[in-house]
């Protein structure tokens, strides 16, 4: 029994040495993906909270978002963190949590990230209700938030939303494009119809403004319910109103039912939807025949291959798609793009943060630096924030798509 004991002792010795070695090394054990600082003096570790609905009803949003966060952490680790304006290198640690689509859980996680983990900024959550729920907390604690949800209430009114930003385009960015398309078609009278909820109302307001700016007359305006099964009365009135095109703000299934019944009642006007139908389930529900010819705005991600080579977003989009494809083994959705943009904005702003600030100061300086973001080429568009505009996008960041033979087709301006 002598030889095994000797082997055991040797093994123990090796283990001890390696443990001591680890303890001496600059703490790579605290979490996967903390960058090891290189030659330069190691600065503060920047922790960024990332909360997304990875499971639950909004998993379709949160899962690709989480993938991007993991991907981004890998990129940061390979680069060895970021270098501040004073040449100090900072490891960046992204702390990812799953909100399961629950506002309550999002609130708990946000509080924990702020007080226990000491994050400098929070990215997320995936949905608008969750984002609205955590706004009071981040405002009170003074922590910058970049939401991946779309409601414009997250950033408006600007005076009350000092700490929150978002990367997903709003209806105010899609409406001018819808109106411009109608105008290019020689249309002067439009019908503005929308689903009777906050999303539809927001879209209708944006269309009213865009139409007024472009000099189009809204000759008919009405709502339908999200669970309506019969919209023939509204469609009859559109017919009677003398409108030359129908602008719709709704999501499936109501958007699909409306489109189906337009065709059923023989309404042969151009139907211009909003980005709410940017999901291929719309075509299946409405039927390819009924959806044929429907035009709607989307972010450039869906059409990146068809963009002209001089489009500044094309290289970023191409890189994003290939990196995401390699990481997640599937093409990215628009939600993945929202996460990429939020991470890019925070990373760039962190690079402008000097070393040696206390945490509260770091947070408020970071907020200022995020707000100072200018011309950042992202996935959802080119971001330029101002104190009044915390989305930073414009309608030029959107493109129009047309439904042709049951699929999406990029509709460049030349083909309008």
């Amino acid at each position: 029994m002598n030889r095994p004991s000797a082997a055991f002792a040797a093994f123990t010795l090796v283990l001890l040495v390696s443990l001591v070695g680890c303890a001496a090394a600059p703490s790579p054990t605290s979490a996967p993906g903390v960058a090891t600082p290189t030659a330069q003096a190691a600065g503060t570790v920047y922790k960024v909270g990332f909360i997304a609905s990875v499971t639950g009803a909004a998993a379709a949003l949160g899962e690709p978002e989480r993938n991007v966060a993991l991907m981004w952490q890998q990129k940061l680790d390979v680069a060895g963190g970021i270098v501040g304006p004073d040449g100090v290198r900072h490891p960046v640690q992204i702390i990812i949590h799953d909100t399961q689509g629950s506002s309550d859980l999002a609130v708990t996680l946000t509080k924990r990230l702020i007080s226990d983990d000491g994050v400098v900024a929070i990215i997320g959550p995936s949905t608008s209700p969750e984002s609205m729920a955590i706004l009071p907390i981040i405002e009170e604690a003074g922590v910058p938030l970049i939401s991946m949800a779309s409601s414009s209430a997250i950033v408006k009114p600007a005076a009350e939303r000092r700490w929150s930003f978002k990367t997903a385009a709003s209806n105010e960015h899609t409406a001018p494009l819808q109106v411009e398309y109608a105008k290019a078609k020689g249309i002067t009278r439009i019908a503005n119809i929308y689903v009777n909820n906050a999303y539809g109302e927001d879209g209708a307001v944006a269309i009213r403004k865009a139409a007024a700016d472009a000099g189009l007359e809204i000759v008919y305006e009405d709502t339908f319910e999200a669970d309506d099964t019969d919209m023939s009365a509204q469609i009859t009135k559109i017919k009677a109103s003398g409108a030359q095109a129908v602008l719709v703000t709704a999501i499936p299934p109501a958007a699909a039912v409306f489109t189906m019944q337009c065709r059923e009642l023989g309404l042969d006007l151009p139907v211009i939807h909003n980005h709410g139908i940017g999901n291929k389930a719309f075509i299946e529900q409405a039927g390819a025949q009924n959806a044929e010819g429907v035009v709607f705005p989307m972010s450039k991600l869906v059409a990146y291959q068809s963009l002209p080579d001089d489009d500044p977003q094309k290289p970023v989009l191409t890189q994003f798609v290939s990196e995401y494809q390699a990481f997640a083994k599937q093409p990215p959705s628009s939600f993945a793009g929202h996460a990429w943009d939020a991470l890019a904005i925070v990373t760039e702003a962190l690079k402008r943060l000097p070393e040696g600030l206390p945490l509260a100061e770091q947070r408020s300086r970071l907020r200022d630096e995020i707000e100072a973001t200018k011309g950042l080429v992202g996935i959802d568009g080119i971001f330029t924030f101002t104190p009044e505009d915390h989305v930073g996008l414009s309608y030029k960041d959107m493109v129009l798509m047309r439904i042709t033979n049951g699929d999406w087709e990029y509709l460049p301006r030349e083909k309008w």
Binding site: N196, V219, Y220, D222, T223, F224, E225, D227, D228, T229, D230, M231, S232, A233, Q234, T236, K237, K239, A240, S241, P252, P253, A256, V257, M260, Q261, E264, L265, G266, A281, E284, Q285, A286, G287
Partner: protein, 298 residues
């Protein structure tokens, strides 16, 4: 905006066909009430099952819409029978309120099961006839709406000949008029109740099948349609079958004109406004129906 004659016609055609659906659902509620003394709040779920099963049969088995529809109606009729056997018959000595609550529970259970089985994504069903809508004095009438009206007419004709022309039908009617007397004459009221449930489930399923191509089939479509059917049943005095048909068509048309002449948001509000007015006018003494102990069945 000035609505022309063709728009009025369009609103009428849409309202009339939607009203036919309401009538079918309301009829189902009236039949179970008059024969089995059950206010079936789960009637809308039979509509949903009819629509969802048809879509499923078309997709999974690759059969034609007609065959799938027939199979779905049959399947839902059997489900109706099972619901009667499992939830109504064991409660035959309970008060009407208990039974009413049981039907609400049944409805929630069926909806929940459908949610699990089919998920939340609404599914399309192709129209029975894929042809361009008919133009009628400036109004458009789709073939599917003609199917809705035709199926309703056929269902009514079948019901009429069954109740008036067959012994079984007359036995059911006898039960609805006076259950005790019918039992004394040797009519098995319990079987008649089962038969009533089977028939109303089939009626509901038919409504679901014909409306699915106009809307979409989804697990939660039954709730709203069931409530409309309930309004129709109340308007029809809870016992009158012709009354239910007239009320259904009236409600559908009123809704259509309310949405067309005033606002789309008024449509659903109108149905329940009508319900309130009818209840207040005491056309049916619903509260007394609810608290009265059920007549002995044994």
């Amino acid at each position: 905006m000035q609505l022309g004659l063709s728009d009025w016609l369009q609103l009428f055609l849409s309202g009339f066909s939607t009203g036919c659906i309401y009538a079918l659902i309301g009829l189902g509620i009236i039949i179970t009430y008059s024969v089995a003394r059950v206010i079936n709040m789960a009637q809308g779920e039979f509509v949903m099952l009819g629509a969802m099963l048809t879509v499923t049969f078309v997709r999974a088995l690759g059969v034609g819409t007609g065959l799938a529809a027939a199979m779905a109606v049959l399947a839902v009729a059997l489900i109706g029978l099972a619901v009667y056997r499992l939830t109504i018959l064991p409660l035959r000595r309970a008060t009407e309120v208990t039974v009413l609550l049981a039907t609400i529970g049944t409805g929630i259970a069926i909806r929940g099961l459908a949610h699990v089985a089919w998920g939340t994504t609404p599914r399309p069903l192709p129209p029975f006839v894929a042809a361009a809508p008919i133009r009628l004095a400036g109004a458009a009438l789709s073939w599917q709406r003609i199917w809705v009206v035709a199926c309703t007419a056929a269902a009514l004709a079948l019901l009429y000949s069954f109740f008036q022309g067959t012994l079984l039908g007359k036995a059911i009617l006898a039960c609805s008029v006076n259950r005790n007397a019918a039992e004394l004459l040797g009519i098995p009221a319990r079987s008649m109740g089962a038969l009533a449930y089977l028939m109303s489930a089939a009626l509901g399923a038919t409504a679901g099948v014909v409306i699915a191509p106009l809307t979409l089939a989804s697990y939660d479509m039954g709730l709203a349609l069931g409530l409309k059917g309930f309004v129709v049943a109340v308007m029809g005095g809870f016992t009158s079958m012709p009354g239910a048909v007239v009320s259904g068509i009236l409600l559908g048309t009123l809704e259509s004109y309310a949405a067309g002449l005033v606002s789309g948001g008024l449509k659903d509000a109108l149905a329940f406004l009508v319900l309130l007015v009818v209840l207040l006018a005491r056309t049916v003494r619903l509260p007394s129906l609810l608290v009265r102990p059920r007549r002995s069945e044994a």
